[in-house]
């Protein structure tokens, strides 16, 4: 039966008048970067690398009150291989730095990184033997959300700016030269 159109009949069983296709919206043109960027910016799967007290704020902003799911960025993937947004939430110590680097390297391209909170952004008020002074010392960071902890509005603003960045960037496809 596949591929063979069913006969369209009217109530009396006679062949019905065939549907006239309207040519005005058969196709539209766009650039592939815009299309892929549009698709990618609304399907951010975050990997929450949650280490410290900012986790509470992360839960609040993921919950129904602020609801980052409105931006397509709420479904956490607890495997870095399925995620494309690494959210580093909280202080990262020097001892954790190799773990963070490994998580980042395990993520598939395309991937983005958000530094959530001032400790992940710059080390914050920790400036000592134990803590990493900002995760950008070891991995590239796309968006910084400072604050101790950041307000949920700041996080949402950060997500929206990241979406803007994704939408406006190049999205080379497989085997395409950058």
């Amino acid at each position: 039966m596949y591929g063979k159109p069913l006969p369209v009949v009217d109530q009396a069983g006679r062949p019905a008048a065939t549907h006239q296709k309207d040519a005005s919206f058969e196709f539209l043109t766009t650039r592939i970067d815009d299309l892929v960027g549009w698709a990618r910016k609304f399907s951010l799967f975050p990997y929450p690398f949650v280490t410290a007290c900012c986790a509470m704020e992360f839960m609040a902003v993921s919950g129904s009150q602020y609801d980052t799911d409105r931006f397509g960025a709420a479904l956490p993937r607890f495997s870095p291989r399925q995620a494309d947004l690494l959210m580093v939430v909280g202080t990262v110590t020097q001892k954790q730095a190799p773990v963070l680097l490994k998580v980042y390297e395990q993520m598939c391209e395309p991937k983005w990184v958000m530094a959530f909170g001032v400790c992940a952004s710059t080390g914050g008020f920790y400036q000592n033997y134990a803590s990493l002074p900002g995760i950008d010392r070891i991995i590239p960071v796309d968006i910084y959300v400072p604050g101790c902890p950041p307000r949920p509005e700041m996080v949402i603003d950060g997500i929206m700016r990241l979406q803007e960045k994704i939408a406006n960037s190049r999205h080379p496809l497989i085997n395409e030269r950058v």
């Binding site: 020097q94 190799p98 680097l101 000592n128 002074p133 950008d136 010392r137 590239p140 968006i143």
Partner: protein, 172 residues
């Protein structure tokens, strides 16, 4: 009140630090409802054994150290014990030198002392004779120095992952 009676019983065995500053175990009074004993490092295990068996201090709370850089005996190792029957605490202070910062381990008396001695060894470099496992617990292998000593540079970092050169957020 149980606090004072237990402390009085202990004080009967220990001279005060003003009266006999050279005694191996001295009592420095009650501070914040904690009885403070100062003792020589050699008298540590015997004193703690007695406190545990005779006076019922059955819970090992903590061991830490205090760094006094100008003092001839640079490190003060501080122990806290708790009696779950009398609900009181006792504090033991002993001094070690920078050249030989070692005291006897209490792991034979309190199993929980193992981890706390490891941490103290991490942070201050106090070595506990008899502790079978003094690997780093909060720090990592390869960390040089003892970060809570006063002469450790405050902002000295020892990164495990080499840092990237500083660059703009716009560069990936």
């Amino acid at each position: 009140m149980a606090t004072s009676t237990l402390f009085e019983r202990i004080r009967q065995h220990v001279p005060s630090s003003e009266a006999e500053p050279a005694a191996p175990v001295r009592c420095a009074g009650v501070v914040h409802q904690v009885l403070v004993l100062e003792l020589d490092a050699a008298a540590l295990v015997s004193t703690v054994t007695r406190l545990k068996t005779e006076f019922g201090f059955d819970l090992f709370l903590d061991v830490t150290a205090v760094d006094w850089p100008s003092h001839p005996q640079r490190f003060e190792v501080v122990y806290h014990f708790y009696s779950t029957t009398d609900k009181v605490r006792i504090r033991l202070k002993t001094r070690v030198t920078e050249a030989d910062p070692s005291v006897d381990s209490l792991t034979a008396l309190y199993g929980s002392a193992g981890y706390m001695e490891r941490e103290c060894h991490d942070m201050y470099g106090i070595s506990f004779r008899g502790n079978p496992d003094l690997r780093p617990i909060l720090l990592y292998e390869g960390f040089v120095g003892y970060p809570l000593r006063k002469d450790y540079p405050k902002q000295q970092e020892q990164p495990l992952v080499p840092y990237r050169p500083p660059q703009s957020a716009l560069v990936r």
